[in-house]
């Protein structure tokens, strides 16, 4: 095994406890030095609404979402959008280097017990170009529920300004199973304004889902 980012040989010592449980092993794919380049977000001091780092009180963005009548997603993110993370996203999503899809598998651990893990799908045109779905790639080691479908949009979110992003129209539709679990965790790669995730939440509600909806992303 070599580190996915720097290509140096990877030494993994799985802890004994990990070997003794029935959970599948997800050994780290990045070496300790490369993983240390990315800045994790401390959950204690993150915004309770959107997971923004160093904002123990509800941040201005979330207050705006709340005042516009949205039920907050209580979003949690794992890493900040630093220069190192931008380089990772550029290599993974921009260049389309699918080898990186499992880079954070050992960090992105979520239990699917009593909850459905619903990834936000990419647009059909983007999937056709990339050949893979970046979010499904990142969370591919988990048991996912593919409830959401996205229609093609004219301009990708990444090429818009903040104001334009917030004005984006709904492009998700949802199809629920007969007996959906009581909780849903929406999964995305990047939380910027929250627009996409709140659209996904609205699509689930429109399809008749009544349970609790929260969300996670790799980056905030």
């Amino acid at each position: 095994m070599t580190c996915l980012w720097c290509g140096q040989p990877l030494r993994t010592d799985p802890p004994l406890a990990g070997l003794l449980t029935w959970r599948p092993l997800t050994p780290p794919q990045l070496c300790a030095r490369c993983l240390a380049r990315f800045t994790p977000i401390a959950p204690r001091t993150a915004c309770p609404g959107c997971g923004r780092a160093d904002s123990p009180a509800l941040c201005a963005d979330c207050q705006r979402w709340e005042s516009s009548g949205q039920v907050l997603l209580h979003h949690r993110a794992y890493f900040r959008y630093t220069a190192a993370m931008k380089a990772f996203i550029q290599q993974y999503k921009g260049l389309g280097d699918y080898r990186l899809h499992g880079a954070f598998a050992s960090v992105l651990q979520l239990s699917a017990r009593g909850a459905a893990l619903v990834p936000l799908p990419s647009e059909p045109a983007h999937y056709a170009r990339r050949g893979f779905d970046p979010v499904v790639g990142l969370f591919g080691h988990l048991k996912l529920s593919f409830w959401l479908v996205k229609a093609d949009t004219a301009v990708p979110q990444a090429q818009k300004t903040r104001a334009e992003r917030l004005l984006t129209a709904q492009s998700f539709t949802a199809q629920l199973p007969v007996h959906p679990p009581p909780r849903v965790i929406l999964l995305d790669d990047l939380y910027t304004t929250g627009r996409t995730l709140y659209h996904a939440q609205a699509a689930l509600r429109a399809a008749g889902y009544a349970g609790e909806i929260t969300s996670r992303s790799l980056i905030r």
């Binding site: 260049l95 389309g96 280097d97 699918y98 080898r99 999937y127 050949g131 893979f132 779905d133 790639g137």
Partner: protein, 419 residues
């Protein structure tokens, strides 16, 4: 733009807007065929969830997948160019250049084995002028972008009025095909059978030496002989020379005519380095900065800060530089201006740096990071000026390794040939 001799993917063709009439002349091949990427000829394919494959070797140049189409545009002779440089070569330089011209005319590959600081670039001028005179296309390629940026203005000054294309990652593509091209070896992937002569500078430098794709890129972009330039040629080239498969010319003296400084091997316990320096090592460092500046090479980036702190307490003015340091260029410039005594650095500065009066000390020279060729390059930073050709070089280590002995032996052998 006119894509003469280029090899472009359908995405690149669309992006730069190539007219249908020149597209019709291009040969179109599938991006991946027979388990091989057709752009870089490597077999490092990765599967995508939708059933396609992509090439991970040349990914940084834009992804080639099994659905990609590659267009190979036809090439032709150049409009030529003339040498406007008015300097003169020394006797050995002229002889080496003549041997290279003879090899190239005979269609043979050639190795220019020139010691560090021999004046390699000037030696290329007659060769390039000879080829351009015959309306050939010439490329000077090197694995390092900083070498491209240094070479390009020098070549443009020597061939005034001749169009020179400069290619590196992020640079604008030339609108017109140029007679003379200066490029990183990666950029040659965008050409197919276009050049009549490719000169590869620093063949043994990273990443060319570790990346078979780059040798394949040179072979594919070329339709004539290749000339290799190195102070420390890799084993495969040395073998080809021994078997008379390629031509060779040696340049064993520096332009100033003095021998290369021979490294002194010093065995010292280095257990407390980099935090503390033993008295012996301190004395050695004091001797290194006596009337000179000192380049101090270390094997690891995390040694830089503690070592700088330890040297600071001895009253030396110290700065550090490494590959990911954004202020690297400015630091080296300040060092060149003599603003401080010791520059601590990793292997990143082993090539292309010329400091007039500068001693070299390689700390932990027995580290696996340091190959024989790397050590020769580092030792080659010393004694580059006419005023002080005998700057001292030390390899300080806990043990003497094969690489250290080999480096010393090779320098000794080159000096012996030269005298």
């Amino acid at each position: 733009m006119i894509p003469t001799g280029m090899q472009l993917t359908d995405e690149e063709v669309q992006k730069v807007g190539i007219v249908a009439s020149s597209l019709a002349q291009a040969a179109c091949v599938a991006g991946i065929e027979n388990g091989r990427c057709q752009r870089c000829q490597q077999r490092s394919l990765v599967a995508l969830p939708d059933g396609r494959q992509y090439c991970s070797a040349c990914l940084t140049m834009g992804r080639v997948t099994s659905r990609t189409k590659l267009y190979r545009f036809p090439s032709g002779p150049s409009e030529g160019g003339t040498l406007t440089w008015s300097g003169t070569l020394t006797g050995p330089q002229a002889a080496a250049a003549a041997a290279a011209i003879a090899s190239v005319t005979a269609g043979r590959d050639h190795l220019l084995w020139a010691v560090t600081g021999a004046g390699k670039t000037e030696m290329l001028f007659p060769l390039i002028a000879h080829e351009l005179g015959n309306r050939k296309r010439v490329a000077v390629a090197t694995p390092r972008i900083d070498v491209v940026l240094e070479l390009a203005p020098r070549l443009q000054a020597a061939f005034e009025g001749t169009p020179v294309a400069v290619l590196y990652g992020g640079a604008e593509w030339p609108a017109q095909p140029a007679a003379l091209t200066v490029a990183t070896t990666h950029q040659l992937l965008r050409y197919y059978r276009h050049f009549d002569l490719i000169i590869v500078d620093e063949v043994d430098a990273f990443p060319y030496s570790q990346t078979p794709m780059l040798a394949a890129a040179v072979a594919q972009a070329n339709r004539g002989p290749t000339v290799y330039l190195s102070a420390t040629p890799p084993k495969a080239l040395q073998r080809a020379v021994r078997r008379h498969q390629i031509g060779v010319s040696y340049l064993t003296r520096r332009f100033h005519g003095f021998a290369l400084p021979l490294p002194t091997l010093v065995v010292l316990p280095l257990k407390q380095v980099p935090k503390r320096l033993s008295p012996k090592l301190s004395r050695l460092l004091q001797a290194a900065v006596q009337g000179r500046q000192c380049l101090l090479f270390v094997p690891r980036i995390d040694w830089l800060a503690p070592l700088a702190a330890a040297l600071n307490t001895q009253g030396l003015r110290v700065q550090t530089a490494h590959a990911e340091d954004p202020a690297r260029v400015a630091t080296v410039q300040a060092f060149r201006a003599g603003e401080f005594d010791v520059l601590i650095t990793t292997t990143i500065l082993e090539r292309g740096v010329t400091i007039p009066r500068c001693s070299v000390l390689v700390l932990a020279a027995d580290d696996r990071q340091f190959s024989a060729s790397g050590l020769i390059q580092m030792a080659g930073r010393a004694g580059r000026s006419q005023a002080s050709p005998n700057d001292p070089v030390w390899f300080v280590a806990r043990h003497i390794t094969k690489a250290m002995l080999s480096a010393r032996h090779q320098i000794h052998a080159l000096n012996a040939v030269g005298s």
